[in-house]
Symmetry: C2
Subunit: 463 residues, 2 copies
């Protein structure tokens, strides 16, 4: 390994308690990767701040020694976001894991960035509240805000950006600011909440988040509906949305992925293109909606629909869905997961999935398609041997074809995973002149390019 | 009047057809004011572009002659947003009023910025769709995006920012860019949609907008509920929200404002603190919700609740509510309207309204309180004689007290009207260091400070 700059090491030790600074090889390695197939790279040091003030001190030291900083949650990113390719300091937020305040009447919660989504939901339960955003991993809320994460519930509740009311941010120069307020809406000044959510650590470190939470619905109904083809399943979703039936979750899992899921989760679900659905509301309203929905899926040759109303059945269903990526990983030891993440207008979804399926079949690599189809977002999951250049090349070309298909139809290269390093090459193509504006903003707020450099885009370091 | 720079005048005439450039005194005067009490100021020229290309040419001329530009919709802003205090060119978008595309399956519509919300809703009706955001005025969608407008429906459907999927923007230097895509969600790069919505013309001119639209609900139920005090009415709203009953609209009108409304709209509604409510959904679900809601309002001493299920009754009810500001204006000839616009966390709403009521009573000026209480946003409407310095001073001090009360409780100085010139003095106090970040972004994207200068904040012009 390359040694840490001794002056920087001394500076970090002088501003933080000894146990909050690490140069240990194992710790460095744990912070050298995420859950993606991207190459690893070791940081020079890992620090574990416990307060905003400590984060400020770390940023000031980074400025003094001109070293980059990478904020790190649980390392569950999927595009290399937290890999310190420029080395420097990785800030691990695991000590900042307190739920600071639950404001029941305001449907708000204030948390430190290291709180995970499951930790939050466990704490909210006794208030009759829940936090809806659910990427597969038990990620930290700071990391989820940094990547604008979403998941199965965004069709009803929105994505991470829709939940963030305020963030305390430590900027590149150590300045502390707040992006918003506690008000439910505001037309006061530029919308910095929106800008910082999804900035992937390139504009600052999040040290506190105020998030919207929701009352646990009076009545929840989950269902699994099986279809002869993916096309029928997608058609059914479009018709359900057109009919104005308010879906809370709406996930497509293809036949290959249902097989993988049954093996991993020890379930015996029908191995066909399947919609995992959920509805939230009051009992009378849901019963009317579900009746209507049953008529619609029948029009799309639905061969079986099974409902789960009790908690245990519902939890099992969603746990199986959430563990699907891990099901692929565990089912293919030695291989790594590559996931596409395009999102297209819903009118283009059936075509996009059909195209992805054909390309996937032609590839000859194990994989399947799952998707948050209510949003037009789907993933092709591919298992590849990253030591086999042919497989890597094939996967990369496949990813590119899927992305270009989406961009040509008004879509985006990443619906929820973010850019990191993996989607950088599509940024200019997707955003055109807006990409230059993004770079101008980055340059204005982080002129020395210290904050997670070379993620989202490459910015030249000042001489 | 001050003459227009003859070279600029010649340049504008050379790039636009003759009828699209005006120096006519009446036209200049029409573009010297908005619907607020703020002082007027004449532009040097008013131009009426018909295409994005013409807007680009205008921006290039503005750059060449170093003159400021003010984008102008219908002039219905309430904080002086469109008043050209630095003179220059006002761009009136009334010729760019085409609905370009309705994508039914995607629930999207593409419009030019001069389309008004009522024009859009008339066109959407035949598709079974509607656009929810409804400020009182029939504003243009470009203007509504510029101020992040909202209205009675944001408690269910969100504010203008939540509806904007993409904007074509002409930047200060004439570059054309797009802020988003057609995808329902994206984690690709910085969220420029969010940044540009609410930028009040300070970052660029909007030349095309792609907006979310919604299916007209299967069943709509409106109600008027009368309470002995404002406090009871607010308490009822908080309890309805706590109970998880999904409200689509939830407006408070106080006793004084009900009187004004009855005179103006020729209605005979009970002159008490009143909630105007609306619920959207399916019939079975709404019936269950409404039964629950009736129990709740009874707990808050509701003295009368009347339902409107047919279109005519509902339309009359909401028309009366929407015309309330005009009711005050018409009821006080010679006076002008000053409106506060704070938004507070819902737990602070009852206290904030009580405080505003007491301050209003102490003032001795005609006025009332109305509010989008489901969001924690309320307005104190005051009628003042702008030629009477004592009244202006009183109103200004009143406004300041209301704002400071809100800011001390985590609120915002403006929930939906925007900053313009009227709320500038509170920006630093509300945003702290974030205000400096906003200035850095403005400086980066508009270094010559040509785009609607000295709105939101004052930026020094480069030497």
């Amino acid at each position: 390994m390359i040694a840490t700059n001794p002056e920087l090491a001394a500076a970090l030790k002088s501003i933080l308690p000894e146990e909050q600074v690490s140069f240990n090889q194992t710790i460095l390695e744990q912070h050298s990767r995420d859950e993606s197939y991207h190459d690893c790279s070791l940081p020079e040091a890992v620090v574990f701040p416990a307060t905003t003030e400590e984060v400020v001190k770390i940023m000031k030291a980074a400025n003094q020694y001109n070293v980059p900083v990478v904020p790190f949650g649980r390392g569950t990113s999927l595009e290399g976001h937290v890999i310190p390719y420029d080395r420097g300091i990785t800030i691990d937020f695991s000590l900042m894991d307190k739920i600071l305040e639950v404001r029941e009447e305001d449907f708000l919660v204030k948390v430190q960035p290291g709180v995970t989504r499951m930790q939050l939901n466990n704490a909210l339960k006794k208030h009759g509240l829940f936090f809806p955003v659910d990427p597969g991993a038990d990620a930290t809320l700071g990391g989820m805000a940094a990547t604008n994460a979403s998941g199965t519930t965004s069709v009803k509740y929105g994505v991470m950006r829709d939940q963030v009311r305020d963030i305390e941010v430590v900027l590149a120069d150590g300045t502390v600011m707040n992006t918003g307020s506690l008000a439910a809406k505001s037309s006061s000044g530029f919308h910095l909440n929106g800008l910082f959510v999804g900035s992937e650590g390139t504009l600052g470190c999040f040290t506190e988040l105020t998030l919207k939470v929701y009352g646990i619905p009076e009545f929840i109904l989950a269902a699994r509906a099986s279809f002869p083809t993916v096309d029928d399943a997608v058609g059914a979703v479009v018709s359900i949305l057109q009919a104005g039936i308010p879906i809370a979750r709406c996930e497509l899992v293809d036949e290959q992925s249902m097989k993988q899921l049954n093996v991993h989760s020890e379930t015996a679900y029908r191995e066909q293109a399947t919609l995992f659905l959920e509805f939230h509301g009051n009992e009378a309203g849901l019963n009317q909606d579900v009746k209507f929905m049953e008529d619609i899926v029948a029009d799309y040759r639905c061969e079986q629909i099974e409902f789960e109303t009790d908690n245990a059945g519902r939890n099992k269903l969603w746990e199986a869905r959430h563990n699907l990526a891990y099901a692929y990983v565990h089912g293919h030891p030695g291989k790594k997961l590559m996931v596409t993440d395009v999102c297209v207008p819903i009118s283009e979804l059936a075509g996009a999935i059909l195209y992805a399926r054909e390309e996937l079949d032609a590839l000859g690599l194990p994989g399947g398609i799952v998707g948050h189809v209510g949003d037009g977002n789907f993933h092709a999951l591919l298992m590849i041997d990253t030591n086999n250049p042919t497989e890597v090349q094939k996967a990369s070309e496949f990813n590119e074809r899927i992305v270009l298909y989406a961009l040509e139809r008004g879509g985006t290269c990443t619906g929820e995973h973010g850019v990191g390093v993996g989607k950088q090459k599509y940024q200019e193509r997707e955003h055109g002149n807006a990409y230059l504006v993004m770079k101008q903003i980055k340059q204005a707020l982080d002129p020395k390019n210290l904050m997670n450099p070379n993620k989202i885009f490459s910015v030249k370091k000042e001489a």
